[in-house]
Symmetry: C2
């Protein structure tokens, strides 16, 4: 695994910055087979650090599969990467993106099981937001016939993460209760669906009021993220809950631990509270890190509680657990075939619309997954728009928040 990781880094270095020219946005896919369109992150910061440009086409190394990308998943983690708010941020510039779906275009040596033309979904250690990616065959899975490319790009990360947290880390069983933050997001919706495959599981969901109508049926109890959810949960379940899934961190960690019943498990799987409207540097991340409330093991002992962290990408790309993830994916594809689970796609966006898509995640406007549809043309700007979105190369910070007037209408799936 370590060797493969090193190769990927060289690959990345090779792929990017071969066309550092000015204003490459809205470049059309050319007939030149050696080039491809890709989203590039030029520096850590606001939306203006992203641009679409032409890059050299990657070719598969030994053990890799080359995929003509149809759709890519956009995750909250991508915003954290953009802001540099992650531990060990990558060396820039880089093509972001950790998951995609598409068609196998060629294969390297030692990629038994894959053939040109296969419809696949894949994890990628960066580089997913491009017309073509190469990734080790260990991270590639064949798509069911009934699954669309958009669904496949919405499936891998969210469902594998949700499944592993519920069943590998926390051992969800009949009659248990689960509290999930961001119940309307991609992982939240996957959690709700997977909980429904186990008898008599109570799901407490927390989400912005604006999403309540859309997701009310997916959970047992739904709370506004702005109310005192602890009190509400304790009213319904004075003993607390068995599993808390937290992607926010910060003050929610202490609340989550308090809400656990004995033998309950709190799982931190993200830290989206660390992303704000401001540009974040690695140093501000480090500061947030230290501000997180630390847990005394003796307190866990007194209270019979379990606290866990879960990062699927680290599991795949740092910890070498691709075989375990493969076995989980097999189980998930069974559940999909049985129509017990189905990825929820919020909206589709062209590569050139990645800024608007990120803004929508930042504003927590999505229900389910945002997808970058590589073959989609950008939707024309709304008539009310008076300016273009900020261009690459612009140096001013672009405030994230109330810039509705600049937004394109998303293509709602």
């Amino acid at each position: 695994m370590a060797k493969e990781g090193a190769d990927m880094t060289e690959e990345t270095q090779f792929m990017i910055d071969t066309n550092p020219g000015k204003e490459p946005e809205h470049v059309e896919s050319s007939g030149d087979a050696k080039e491809m369109r890709a989203v590039v992150l030029a520096g850590f910061g606001g939306l203006n650090k992203l641009r679409v440009t032409k890059k050299a086409m990657p070719e598969p190394h030994d053990g890799e599969v080359k995929i003509r990308v149809k759709a890519c998943g956009l995750n909250f983690l991508d915003l954290m990467v953009r802001q540099g708010s992650i531990d060990n941020p990558p060396k820039l510039p880089i093509v972001p993106g950790f998951e995609c779906s598409g068609i196998v275009e060629s294969v390297g040596e030692n990629t038994a099981g894959f053939e040109i033309g296969d419809r696949v979904m894949a994890f990628v250690n960066y580089n997913a937001w491009a017309e073509v990616v190469c990734t080790p065959a260990d991270f590639v899975y064949k798509m069911p016939e009934e699954m669309s490319f958009a669904e496949a790009a919405a499936f891998s990360l969210n469902f594998v993460a949700a499944y592993m947290m519920l069943f590998e880390v926390a051992n969800l069983r009949e009659g248990m209760s689960v509290l999930v933050h961001s119940a309307g997001g991609g992982v939240g919706q996957a959690v709700a669906q997977l909980c429904s495959t186990v008898p008599n599981v109570t799901v407490f969901g927390i989400a912005s009021c604006s999403k309540h109508a859309a997701i009310r049926d997916s959970v047992t109890h739904l709370f506004d993220r702005n109310v005192d959810y602890m009190q509400e949960v304790q009213k319904i379940s004075p003993e607390g809950v068995d599993i808390v899934l937290d992607c926010l961190c910060g003050e929610n960690t202490a609340k989550g631990l308090t809400l656990l019943r004995p033998l309950g498990t709190y799982i931190l799987y993200g830290a989206s509270n660390m992303v704000t409207g401001e540009t974040k540097s690695f140093f501000s991340f480090a500061k947030s890190w230290w501000q997180v409330e630390k847990v005394n093991p003796i307190k866990l002992y007194e209270e019979n509680k379990v606290i866990a962290g879960f990062s699927l990408l680290n599991l795949l790309f740092k910890h070498g657990k691709c075989n375990l993830v493969k076995s989980v994916m097999d189980k998930l594809l069974c559940l999909f075939d049985q129509k017990k689970i189905k990825p929820v796609v919020d909206s589709l966006w062209a590569l050139e619309e990645v800024k608007e898509a990120m803004q929508r995640i930042h504003d927590r406007g999505n229900v389910g997954k945002l997808i970058l549809d590589v073959e989609k043309s950008p939707t024309p700007l709304m008539a009310s728009d008076s300016t273009e979105t900020s261009e690459a190369g612009e140096e001013e910070e672009e405030p994230e928040g109330d810039n509705d007037s600049k937004e394109r209408m998303p293509f709602i799936h």
Copy 2:
């Protein structure tokens, strides 16, 4: 549960100090049915805080079973209680002891399933080290015919704790690896036996050299507690281990977390490093508490690790999980009937020998469980002894450590 707990406290207040007279050691069981012998802890501190005295006989309340005690389990936790090194130490004086076996002598109302004469083992929220105890029927279990009273007193706490940590908290499965500190102790031996019921589980045991010959066959790899076990384990298993069971706390917490492989679980189930030869007060415990290295949840997230605390007594007496514990006991009794597990008894001691027994646990001389045998007469002191063991009422601190010359020979089972 709360009500029952309150009743127990009153009961305790009532039971003790009815005979505060001087020098009650070596009191014989009298014919008077209203009195009984019991070990009493008069103050937090050294061995001299313990004495055997006569107490008023308890009678069962509604829902309680009255047991004529045959054998009691002695645990490291009892040393912590004696020193006051636990959170919320009890109001003194108190009769220590959390588990016993014996014969049902009478039953209160609402104790369906138990009859006079039943051979039983039971958890007790203090008060176990006496000739008679009353405890709620929820904490009483019928003994298998093939089990001796000493085995039963060695069974409940160690095997239930080991089972719940391995299978409820950590989800032990085929092919996993487990590291257990104090592999020669009661819980350690139970862990080793339960691991052998799952195919292909590797057990790394850590124990004093003096125990190695006795326990070598019970574990896969055995290390001296004084060597750098981290390095040794990493040599054999560079990826680390799946489950770490730690009853020591302190620096072992950080080491245990480091040794975990991704998705692995560290479980703290005791803090015996907090007991030293010195008398401990609540304040020194509080100090130790704050000195324990705290865990940043984000670090768990980066590393995909799980940290858990497990206290069976809190689960039973504070957290109301007696039904869950009952179901675990049923599974364990099945394994006992199938001869897959068998409690390891280190030695039997008279109530009057409780100080020597505690010294043996303190010195980590035991392999398996120490039992107080209520019907046993004290073994005569060794010829080399020039003084009696310290008497009740003595105020000097008795140094724990090298007082071999005072020890009686234990009755080795």
